[in-house]
Each structure stands twice: as C-alpha cells, then as structure tokens.
C-alpha cells in the first residue's frame, strides 16, 4: 500500500463541493449569458426602459447585467442542488429504530 502522505487523498466534503460547484458553474454560465445578451442589447438603450432619468454608463450596465445573471444562475443551480440533495431517501420510510 502507498503511504497516505504520498497520496493526494484530499476529498472535499459534499457541502463544500456543492457550494464551489454552484458558484463556479453559475459564474461560467453568467459569463456566456452576459456576452450573448450584451452583444444583442446595448445597456444604454435598456436603461430608458426602467427609468428615463437613470443615467448610468455602459460599464456599470455591463457589470449590473453580469451580476444579475450570476445571482440568477446561482439561485437556479443552488436550488437544484439543494432539492436533489435533500430529497427524501427511500430508507427514510422504513421507520428504523
């Protein structure tokens, strides 16, 4: 057997895996989403929809868009991960003592 010291036996806990994966995957999805969205729409054109007086420049528009997508994607994949992981397991029904 190989000594433990040699082995990269490092394993992340399931919660840690879930948190990092959700944050990272939603980050990547948000990056793609932002790119496609702002290739089609100019943030300056969009600000007029919400509030005609809203005077923000494009940089701020891009940033707001990116974080909007990131939070949305994180919410979506986080909820999915949460529901999948906390779903009732079959054994729970057997009322084991």
């Amino acid at each position: 057997m190989i000594e433990e010291e040699y082995r990269g036996a490092e394993r992340w806990s399931r919660n840690r895996q879930a948190v990092f994966t959700v944050v990272w995957i939603s980050f990547l999805s948000a990056a793609i989403g932002t790119m496609v969205f702002f290739a089609l729409f100019d943030p300056v054109d969009l600000t007029g929809i919400f509030d005609a007086d809203l005077d923000i420049d494009r940089d701020a528009g891009y940033a707001a868009g990116f974080f909007f997508f990131w939070v949305l994607c994180a919410l979506c994949s986080g909820m999915t991960a949460f529901l999948v992981r906390t779903a009732p397991k079959r054994k729970a029904k057997q009322h084991k003592q």
């Binding site: 036996a9 806990s13 919660n15 990092f20 494009r58």
Partner: protein, 457 residues
Amino acid sequence: MNSPAGASMYESAKKIYPREIGGRFARLSYIATLSLLGIFYFLPWLTWDDRQAVLFDLPARKFYLLGLTLWPQDFPYLALLLIIAALSLFFFTALAGRLWCGFACPQTVWTEIFIWMEQWTEGTRSQRMKLDKAPWSFEKLRKKASKQLLWITFSMWTGFTFVGYFTPIRELGADIVALNVGGWTFFWGTFYGLATYGNAGYLREQVCKYMCPYARFQSAMFDKDTLIISYDEDRGEPRGSRKRGDDPAEKGLGDCIDCTLCVQVCPTGIDIREGLQYECIACAACIDACDSVMDKMNYPRGLVRFTTENSLKQRPSRILRPRTIIYATLLLSLCSGLVYSLATRTPLILDVIRDRNSLYREIPDDRVENIYTLKLINQSHEPRSFVLRVTGFAGIELDGAPGQILVEGGGVMSLPVRVRAHRDDAQGIHAIHFSATAVDDPGVHVEEDSRFLGPTP
C-alpha cells in the same frame, strides 16, 4: 442547511504536494505554459494601425482584432467562433484525450506558474512539506511572505492585463501610475486577479476534480482509439521492489518496481496504475517519472505511456474513424465558412426599425406614409457617402433622406425617414426593401426588408 456533513464544510482539506519531475513531457508543458501565458500577457501591448491590435472596446461596443473591426451586428461571427471552439475541443479530445487539460487549460497553465513560484520560494516537495509542518519561525515567515508577494504581484499583473483587453492598456498603465483608475476598471482588475490567485494558488486540481464540467463528460468523446495515459499492466505486474541488477523473471516480478514515483508527481494525486480515472488531466508527469526510473533500471521506457486502449490489447489503432472524420469535416467546413464570410464581408450595415406607434398616417393628396428609423453603420475606416433607395410596390417614395449621406469611418448615422405611396396602391400589408449603396464602390451594397402598412381595402 442542517445536514450532518455541514460541520465538515470548513474542514481544511488535505493538501497535495506534487513532486517536481523533469523529462520530455515536463519540457513540453514548460513550452506550452510559457508560450500561452506569453501570448496572454503580450497581446494587449501589440499595436496595429496606430491602435491596440486586440481590443474589446466595450464602452464603444466595437471589437478590434488585428485589421478587423467587429460590431454588435457581427454577433453571428462570435457564435460561430464559439461553436468552432467547442467542436475543436471534441475533435482533439477524440484524437488525443485530455490534451487540453494537461497542456492548454488556463487552470493548468496558471497553476503551473504558481507552483513554479512556490518552488522558487519554498523549495522542493519535501522541503515544502517540512516547512508546512514546522512551527512558525522567522525563516518560515520569510519564505511564506515572499511566496505571497510573488503570487499577489503576479495576480495583480494578471488582472491588469485582463482589463487591458477591454481598456487601451497603455492609457490604463498611465492611469494606474497616476493613481487615477476608474471604479469599474479597478473592480474588474481586482476581481480577475483574485480569481487567478484563488484558482491557481489554492483550488488548483480541485477545480478539475469537482468544478469542471468538461472533466466529467469528456469520457463521452473517448473511444478505444483515443490517446490516453496508461500503465502497461501486462508488463508491470506483479509489481515489487528489487535490487538493481536483479533478474525480475527469476523473482517472478514484472517491470514495475513499485517506487510510487508516478503517484508522488501526480498533481491530482491519483495512482495511474489503477487504470484510467476521470481525475487524470493527462499532464504526463507520471510518464516522465516512470521513464526516469526505467532508465535507471536499464528497462525499456514506456511502462506508463501515451497509448490507446486498442494498442494496449495488441489490437490495431485507427486515427481515421467515423468519429474523427465527422468532427474533422464539421470543423473544416465551419472554419472555411467563417474565413469566407469574413473575407467577403460588406463593411456596411443597414438596420431598419419601423415606428411601432402608428400603423400609417394619412397625408394630403390621398397619400399615406409610414415612418422608419434607419441606422447606417459604416464599418470601414474611412468616411463614405451612401445612397438610400426603397422598392417594393408601384409609386413608393422615400422622403427625409438626402441624396447622399456621409457617414464617418466607423460611425453610425441614425436617420428618421418617411415612406410614402398613393392610398390605392398601398392597401394592405406590403413587403418593402431598403437598400444602401456606397457612392464610390457599388459593390458595397446592402439590403434590408421591412413592411409597409396601408389602409385595409
């Protein structure tokens, strides 16, 4: 969350100390790292026609790629480029396995650089392990602090370079020296720098193991002819230690001397002798390690090597097979399509937006008019004059557009125009076509369709 596993969430994970190894593939990875990062750090400084050669000018919504200027309207090129990138990944994965992971992925490349800096400041694998176990001393503090200094400086430079793709990098540099950086510029630079620091300094192979989608689904692109790193079990087993010069046949042993060097060098901490595992990023460090041992033992190299499942089982390997042929054909046609359409691109865009607020307007002399906003975008670098026309049905006329419209190089001209027709000709819905033609070159010509609404018959 109240799950019992929650308690271990912040448990410090066991660290992997990959052992450094020289060899053919280490040299290859060295070259790949240097050239890829070289391109990343050097490219924004390149000048083309008095402007930055590669600049994604988001505030102005224009992309400069060498001699090419792309506009938001050129979005299809971007989509095509993304599809080509994905297909290339499939193609090279089918051919050569996780070549991308081991040599070209930014995660690998930046991790490599960060490990170099770790080695310069903290020493070899065994020195690093000893240092981490040792109590805090001035020496430990000095080594750790110089590592952090290198890492942080490098991360900041990385963040600066990243922002330099979106803001002219020379001006940005001058702004930084003058401590006059815009809020968002500072934010994105720090954000990217921090991400590099965290990903390459701390998360490292955990990104590949737990966070990378490609690592999980790449097996779908594998077949028995895909190049993988594999341990030759038939030759190596039974493994066992021995003295140099012992005849393995006499002791009933295979060629593996069980030195565990292949495990020690592995950045993801797997044992390649247990077969292909999804954690393997094909960095080939184990091949270098094993080859060096085989050389010392005077055994032939290649106990661990790049091979295919078929050739391990003494069956012929094929490079040309339906999977690679399909990927290659698709890739080739998309690439040539992209090159062709870029080469024959008309440097002029005409957008037509029909005024949605009114269907049509009645004007004197029994005529009706529709209102449109035309956007003329001159994508060439020189100012140009254009002639606008509208066709579609009898008696249709354009009003509000001067005979020749001058648009500056790289400029946008927004033009409200009216299209008029006699009400007898204009009943119902008509398809109409706007066209714009450059005065100096009739070849520069675009058409755009719209609709004309008239009174119901």
